[in-house]
Symmetry: C2
Subunit: 446 residues, 2 copies
C-alpha cells in the first residue's frame, strides 16, 4: 500500500467528504481558546443528531441501560421499579447475564428479535412478522451496507444499479461508492412537497439502459432529507413497479415515529404490501430498516438498528448471516432497541414521565420544523418546502451570481462555499445539497 494506487479500487472510488465537519471542529477549537468571535459555539445541524442539538434522551431508556451496565443499581430504590425489572429481564437474555458477552447469535439476541417482530405486528395491524426475519445490527447504515454488499455483482453493463431518490440521505452515495453500485436517481417533486411521482421511476429505469443492470430501488419514507410522508396510493404504485421490474425494495423507515404533518400518517411498506395480497405479498422482496437514531430516541451514538426481510430466499438469508458471523452485533444498542419497541405500559411507574417526554419532544420537533421553515422562507434567495416528518428541512438556495462565480473560480460547489461561509460567519454548520445528490443547477442545503 505504498501509495493509494495500491489499494482496493472500490475504496479509491469512495468520495472524500466535503470536510465541513473538520472546519467546524477547527472553529470550535479556536472558540475554546478564546478570541473575538460573535458566537460561543458551533451549531451543527447537518447530520440529524437530536442529542447534539440539546434534545434530552428518554429517561427510561437511559435508566434501563445504566442498570444493565452496572447491575449493582438493581438494588437502587431511587430508580423506578419497572426500570429495574426491565433491566433484570434484559440481562437474563444476555449470555452469562452480562452485557459484556458476545451476542448469542450474529443476528442478535433471540428474545429481542422476537420483541421487534411483535412490535412490527402491532404497528401493522396484525400482519405477522417472523423473528427469524429480523436482523439486529449496529445502526441502519450498517444494515444498509450489508444489503448493498449482498446486491453488488457484475461489471460494466451487468453491474448492479440501484434506483435512489434525488435528493437522497447524504450518507447513501458513499455506501453505493463503496459497493461499486451505480446510482440511478429518480427525481422527487420539490413543488409538491418532495412527493414521489411514479413516472420518475420509469424514467430512471430507462436512463439505466446500456449502463448497468438495475436490481433494487431504495426508498426513504418518511423522507430524509425531505420530510415528505408517502401516501398509500404512492406506496402501492412503487410496489407494483418493483414487482413488474423485479427490483428488491430497500425501504429506510427510520423516521416512522416522527410524523407531525397535519393529516399525515406513517404507513409501512410491509403493511401496504400485505394489504395488496398476492401475487405481491408473496413475491416482492422487501427489506425494511429502522433504527434507534430516530427523532424520538435520538440515540445516534449507540448505533443500533434492525432490518426486517420479507420474501427473501432462505439461502440468501443464510448468506446474510454468514456475512455477520465474524463480528457479532453490540449488545447495548440491541437493549435500547428493545426498550424502543416496548416502552413502559400504562400503569407502569415510568409510563407517565415517558409519555410526557415523548409528547414534549414531538411538540418541539413540530414547532421547530414549522418555525424554521417560516424563517427560511422569509430570507431573500431561500425557499423551503414544509417538512411533515423527521429531522431535516431542505431549503432551495438562489445564490447571487457573484457567489456562483466565486465558487467556479475556487473550484468548489456553490452550495459547499455557501455552507463554509455560513459556518465561518454564523457558526452554523449546514450540509450542502451536493451530498444529497443535487448538482450546481439545483442548489440546496439541509
Amino acid at each position: 500500500m505504498s501509495s493509494v494506487q495500491d489499494v482496493n479500487p472500490r475504496v479509491r472510488r469512495i468520495r472524500t467528504p466535503v470536510g465541513l465537519q473538520s472546519l467546524a471542529a477547527r472553529i470550535t477549537e479556536q472558540l475554546s481558546q478564546g478570541g473575538q468571535k460573535p458566537f460561543q459555539k458551533v451549531t451543527d445541524v447537518s447530520s440529524g443528531d437530536p442529542h447534539r442539538a440539546g434534545m434530552p434522551p428518554l429517561s427510561f431508556v437511559r435508566q434501563v441501560l445504566a442498570v444493565c451496565l452496572y447491575p449493582e443499581l438493581l438494588g437502587e430504590d431511587s430508580l423506578p421499579l419497572d426500570v429495574r425489572q426491565r433491566a433484570q429481564k434484559l440481562l437474563e437474555a444476555c449470555n452469562g447475564g452480562s452485557i459484556g458477552s458476545y451476542s448469542p447469535s450474529s443476528c442478535g439476541i433471540p428474545q429481542i428479535q422476537k420483541s421487534v417482530a411483535e412490535f412490527i405486528t402491532r404497528r401493522d395491524a396484525g400482519i405477522p412478522s417472523d423473528p427469524e426475519n429480523i436482523v439486529l445490527c449496529s445502526g441502519s447504515q450498517k444494515v444498509l451496507s450489508l444489503v448493498l454488499h449482498l446486491l453488488s455483482r457484475g461489471e460494466g453493463l451487468t453491474q448492479t444499479g440501484v434506483l435512489i431518490p434525488l435528493p437522497c440521505p447524504h450518507t447513501l452515495p458513499m455506501l453505493l461508492d463503496e459497493e461499486g453500485l451505480t446510482p440511478l436517481p429518480y427525481r422527487l417533486l420539490e413543488d409538491q412537497g418532495w412527493a414521489l411521482e411514479p413516472d420518475q421511476l420509469h424514467g430512471a429505469l430507462r436512463a439505466a439502459r446500456g449502463r448497468c443492470e438495475p436490481r433494487a430501488i431504495y426508498i426513504s419514507n418518511p423522507g430524509n432529507p425531505t420530510g415528505h410522508v408517502q401516501d398509500r396510493k404512492t406506496i402501492r404504485e412503487v410496489i407494483r413497479f418493483a414487482s413488474s421490474e423485479g427490483l428488491v425494495l430497500l425501504v429506510e423507515e427510520v423516521f416512522q415515529d416522527s410524523v407531525f404533518g397535519r393529516d399525515k400518517t406513517f404507513l409501512s411498506y410491509k403493511k401496504v404490501l400485505f394489504e395488496m395480497g398476492e401475487p405481491y405479498s408473496d413475491t416482492v422482496e422487501l427489506v425494511s430498516l429502522h433504527s434507534i437514531s430516530t427523532a424520538r430516541m435520538g440515540e445516534c451514538g449507540l448505533r443500533g438498528g434492525y432490518m426486517e426481510v420479507v420474501n427473501i430466499d432462505p439461502d440468501v438469508q443464510q448468506a446474510l448471516k454468514n456475512m455477520q458471523a465474524p463480528s457479532s452485533p453490540p449488545i447495548l444498542p440491541q437493549l435500547a432497541l428493545e426498550v424502543m419497541v416496548n416502552p413502559p405500559a400504562p400503569g407502569d411507574p415510568s409510563e407517565k414521565e415517558y409519555t410526557q417526554e415523548i409528547l414534549r419532544m414531538d411538540d418541539i420537533l413540530a414547532q421547530n420544523a414549522r418555525r424554521a421553515c417560516e424563517f427560511l422562507n422569509d430570507l431573500p434567495g431561500v425557499s423551503c418546502q414544509p417538512a411533515m416528518a423527521g429531522l431535516f428541512l431542505y431549503p432551495r438556495l438562489n445564490l447571487p451570481a457573484q457567489m456562483l462565480e466565486e465558487a467556479e473560480a475556487l473550484g468548489v460547489e456553490a452550495d459547499v462555499l455557501f455552507c463554509q461561509r455560513f459556518l465561518e460567519e454564523e457558526r452554523v454548520c449546514f450540509g450542502p445539497g451536493c451530498e444529497n445528490g443535487h448538482d450546481r443547477n439545483d442548489l440546496h442545503v439541509r
Copy 2:
C-alpha cells in the same frame, strides 16, 4: 435476489459456520424447559468470552459508563468521586455532552485518539505515537475487515494473498473469504509451544507462487488460539521478512495485557520496529490492533477497538477514513477504551479496588490455564501445549479410528463431530480446530 445465485459472489464464498452455537442454543432451550439432563446449563468456551464464563467486569469501567449513560448519577454520592469525575470528563468530549450524539469524527473522539496514543507511547518506552494514526472502531474484527478490504484487489494471479498462521483465530478465515483474499498459511510449531519459525514464512511465500500476489502478513501475538508469546528475536525476523518482501504487517495484539507465562513479556511490533531503526522504522507498513474484548476488560459485548497505523501513506489513510465516513463508530466502546488505557491512578479512590480486581483476574486466568492444561494432558488421546497468555488452550486430539470412520460416513469433520458429541454429552461447547485452519490430519479443539 430470487436465489443465492443472484447475490454477490464474494458473499457466496463466505463459509457457513459449523453451527455448534445453534446446537448449544437448542440444548440450552431444552434444559430451560426441564427434562432429565445431567447438567443444568451449557458452558461455551469456544469464543474467548470472559463475562459469559462468569468473570466479573471491572467495576470502575462499568461505573463510569453507567454515569455517562445516565448523567443524573453524577450526583450519586455512593459512587466514587473519580468515577464521577472521569464520566464528567468523558461526557465533555462527546458532541453535545451526550453519548447519544454521533462520534465527532469517523476515526473516533479526538481526545480518545490522544489518550490511546499516550498509552502506546508509555507502553513502548517513549516511542512516539501520533493520535492522527489511531483509528477507533467497533471491535478489532471490524478494524481488521477494514484493512483487509483496503488490501483486496486483483483477480486470479494478481489477487491479494495474506500470510496467516496455522492455527489462526477462528474468525479470520471468514473475514478473508468475505474480501476474496487468498489465505497463505504458515505453520506454527506445536512441539515448540506454537512458536513462529521464520523458515515457515518463506515456505508460505513460495507456495503462493503462481496462485496469487502476497501483499500482507497477519500475526497474532500473543497468539490466538495458541497462547504463545513471541520473543524479540522472532519479531525482528518477521519484520525483516516483511520488509524484504514488501508485505504490510497486520498485527493483532489483543492479548497484550494477559501474559501469565513465566519469564514471558509482551513486546509490541511497533516497539521492536523502532528499536531496529532505519530503514525498517520508516518503511515497514504496520497496522496494530487492540481491543476492549481482552482477557482483563472482557467487554466483548460492547465491541470496541483501535488500530494504530505506522508508515502508511497519507492518501491511503484518507481512503481508510472515507470508508468509515458513512457510519460513525459507536461512542460507549470508545469511552470504555479510554478507561482501559487510563485506569485509576495511584491515590485515586477507585485505584485499590481496581488493582485488586485486576490481580484477581490475572490469577484466575493463569491458574485456569495451568489446571485445564494439566487436566487435558491427563486425558487419553489428548495432548496440550501450555498457554503463556490469552484466553485459549488448543489441545491436539487423537481420536479413535471408529470416530474418524463415523465422521467420514456422516460427511463432517472429525473435530466437529467430537465437539458435537462433547456438547451433547457434557454440555461443554468447544470450537473445532477446522475453524482455526487445521484439517482432518491435524485434529484440535479450542
